[in-house]
Amino acid sequence: MEASKIDRIVRQYRAKESAILAILQDIQAEEKYLPKETLESVSQKMRIPMVHVFRIATFYNALSLKPRGRHKIDVCLGTACHVRGGDKILDKMERDLGISVGETTRDKRFTLESVHCVGCCSLGPVAVIDGDVHGRLSQEKVPGLLKDFK
């Protein structure tokens, strides 16, 4: 990420230490992940030790140090989805995409992740793709669902 962009985000929060999570989230919203150089730059600009920035970046599940694909799939593994077969949906996606959870396909089309409950329990099992919730899934519906994402 360009230095000016990082500057803008940091300045927006007046470089307050308490805003570190929000700053990293804003950066990730643009970059889809947190590149090492960006984290170093944030550390310098905010005068926060790199070890602390790194600790925040690795503590929170929403933050990622690995590059992500064009589309992000979050398969819900909340309790309600679990009892209705959420793990089977994840298995099917892993098989169809040829990757394990947490990985990105080689063509950078998809990143597959899991999430503990998105609060759509009555429609389980569900998966979230690029922020849109898809409910009432079954293994059979998975190929049709993924087909539309290029």
Partner: protein, 642 residues
């Protein structure tokens, strides 16, 4: 417009009433996350097009979720002089018909869900009568809202506005009595009186632990310090619970109003709402609501001209379950990692930035305006001796009617699961209800007539938690559930306490061994011992309650553990390593579908054609990965799991 007097507030109410009951036909679409995920966005657009096409003065609005999430998208039509009607499962293809028929004074009968002639306004204790004069053709057989089994036993206090107002319109919130409680609190009550009222109401924390809210406020008010904070815990992490999301998406002002009243009572000048990262729509609705409240002079300097000031900040979480714990949540806001600390000194005395801080859950804050408006005497008549008021539950899992319900404390599990939830689908046998999220436990069928309140749930080894109720049937394996929660807890443990970090990991390992058929009888005692150590030696409630899912399943379902350990069998047919898939040759029609879907190439046989009868189908158990694809695909139920 800045509200300064009660008259100003009345003017906003007038505006809101015009928007709620506009004197013309108004169609509203439920557009909370559950609605949107079933296509409410497309339905909204389709209705908009139909209205334009028909060139009729029909108004179109958005609301939150009316609770029956399973029947989404829900659309309601309100025309002066007619009953309000609710449609369920609406698709964009049927919107033309829906609008057209209404113009002909008819309804789309197969989509009809219920009708309503009066609307409860719990905040004011009044009823809005629609003054029905004529009825569209074809709705005589449709039940009234309060006759629908899903709604008939409900009492909506927390969900009072969800599905009835547009969350983006502060006027509509005011029209149903909103912010009048704030006015009353600021000008007609002393802070101590408010705290007294909340204490007498018997309200207990809705986030899970059930601490008396008034007592918490009292100790924060009495704590030394000029600067104090109020916080709202919207980090709804319990999987299976989503009432806070629904309240924030459908009625965000109720939470803000509760917080302003609380801040005034406690003497706080700044507030934070800590929202889960996984709830983008709730964040969006809160942002809008906070801005509107600021613009109306309900937040910021000199609120309503009272001299009292409050700023509320929105803080987006980072997707860490432990941040729902009070001290971890505060550390997270301070810019630290969200790790809990020991609570020798309560956060009400030294919390956020070491200042006295009062943290309450979304649903707790949302109850406050009602208590101020209706009074503690009214409120405390609802519920049981130790648990007053109502509680919202998300009733999900293996149950016919899934959604958000709100019942008086003390309703029995039977009423919730059978009367409201409509029982277990597909003729299967009910097994248990899981409450309290990862800190809770599984309650067996033998306790189904138990009244649900804080104390009863704790007594049976579970807890209230935030109100998730996951119904389980005979095809849910209790060892698998315990393993599921332990996997959740091991990945969400922050790692600060060794007992929690290692305890959850080891318990998960043992449960995995049992689920894979390598369990021994010693494992049960070891699980109990590990559970005890984890609970006793961990700082925060995540660790202290972590063994509950294991201990409660061991307490009520020990036989299932023994089946896995001794007979290497999973009675619910869930634990994959113990399953065998088999094709019943006498039922099999040799259609060949299973061969196509099997990802492991484990099925052999030849499909039947017009000329040939094919060859018998068989599953090679060595190649089979037990993914269940063939089982799901077979239309003839020719695949058996044993």
């Amino acid at each position: 417009m800045i509200i300064r007097t009660k008259n100003d507030l009345e003017k906003i109410r007038e505006k809101g009433l015009k928007s709620l009951y506009p004197g013309a036909t108004k169609i509203s679409v439920g557009m909370a996350t559950c609605g949107l995920s079933t296509g409410a966005g497309k339905v909204y657009e389709a209705i908009q097009k139909e209205i334009e096409k028909a060139k009729v003065p029909i108004l179109l609005g958005r609301t939150g979720c009316i609770g029956f999430c399973q029947r989404e998208p829900v659309v309601d039509i309100l025309e002066p002089g007619k009953p309000r009607i609710f449609y369920q499962g609406v698709t964009s293809e049927r919107c033309g018909e829906l609008v057209q028929k209404w113009l002909e004074n008819k309804v789309v009968e197969d989509l009809l869900f219920c009708k309503m002639e009066k609307e409860d306004r719990i905040l004011e204790g009044s009823v809005k009568d629609y003054a029905v004069r004529s009825v569209p053709a074809g709705i005589n057989g449709t039940p009234y809202y309060h006759q629908v089994p899903f709604y008939s036993k409900q009492l909506k206090i927390a969900l009072r506005n969800c599905g009835f107002i547009n969350p983006d319109h502060i006027e509509e919130y005011v029209a149903r009595g909103g912010y009048f409680s704030l006015y009353r609190a600021l000008f007609e009550m002393k802070p101590e009186e408010i705290i007294g009222e909340v204490k007498r109401s018997g309200l207990r924390g809705r986030g899970g632990a059930g601490f008396p809210t008034g007592n918490k406020w009292d100790s924060c008010r009495k704590a030394k310090g000029d600067q104090k904070f109020i916080l709202c815990n919207a980090d709804e992490g319990d999987p299976g619970a989503y009432m806070d999301r629904s309240i924030l998406e459908g009625d965000p002002h109720s939470v803000i109003e509760g917080m302003i009243i609380g801040a005034y009572a406690i003497g706080a000048q700044e507030g934070f709402i800590y929202v889960r990262d996984e709830y983008p729509l709730a964040i969006q609705k809160l942002k809008i609501a906070i801005r509107q409240a600021e613009e109306a002079g309900l937040l910021g300097e000199n609120i309503l001209g009272s001299g009292f000031s409050l700023k509320i900040n929105l803080f987006r979480g980072g997707g860490a379950f432990v941040c729902g714990e009070s001290t971890a949540l505060m550390a997270s806001i301070e810019g630290k990692v969200g790790e809990p600390r020991a609570k020798h000194i309560h956060t009400t005395e030294s919390g956020l930035w070491d200042k006295p801080s009062n943290l309450n859950n979304v649903e707790t804050w949302n109850n406050i305006p009602v208590i101020v408006s209706r009074g503690a005497d009214w409120y405390s008549k609802i519920g049981t001796q130790g648990s007053k008021g109502t509680k919202v539950f998300s009733i999900v899992g293996k149950v016919n009617n899934t959604g958000l319900i709100e019942v008086p404390m003390g309703a029995t599990l039977r009423e919730i699961v059978y009367d409201i939830g409509g029982g277990v689908p597909d003729g299967k046998k009910f097994k248990a209800v899981q409450t309290g999220g990862p800190s809770g436990g599984c309650i067996p069928e033998s306790l189904i007539d138990m009244p649900v309140d804080y104390d009863q749930l704790t007594q049976v080894g579970s807890m209230m938690g935030s109100g998730g109720m996951i119904v389980m049937d005979e095809s849910t394996c209790m060892v698998d559930i315990a393993k599921y929660f332990m996997n959740f807890l091991k990945s969400e443990s922050c790692g600060k306490c060794t007992s929690c970090r290692e305890g959850t990991k080891r318990m998960h390992e043992i449960l995995a061994e049992i689920a894979e058929g390598r369990g021994t009888t010693d494992h049960i005692d070891l699980l109990k011992e590990l559970g005890w150590v984890t609970a006793e030696a961990s700082l925060c409630q995540l660790g202290a309650t972590a063994p509950n899912p294991v201990l409660s399943t061991l307490r009520y379902f020990r036989n299932e553990y023994e089946e896995h350990i001794i007979n290497k069998r999973c009675p619910a047919k869930v634990c994959r390593a113990l399953l065998r898939y088999r094709i019943l040759s006498d039922v099999c029609k040799r259609c060949g579908k299973c061969i196509k879907v099997c990802p492991a190439g484990a099925i052999t046989g030849k499909a039947k054609t017009k000329k040939e009868s094919g060859k018998p189908f068989k599953i090679d158990t060595k190649k089979c990965t037990r993914c269940g694809m063939c089982f799901e695909a077979c239309k003839f139920k020719a695949i058996e799991v044993e």
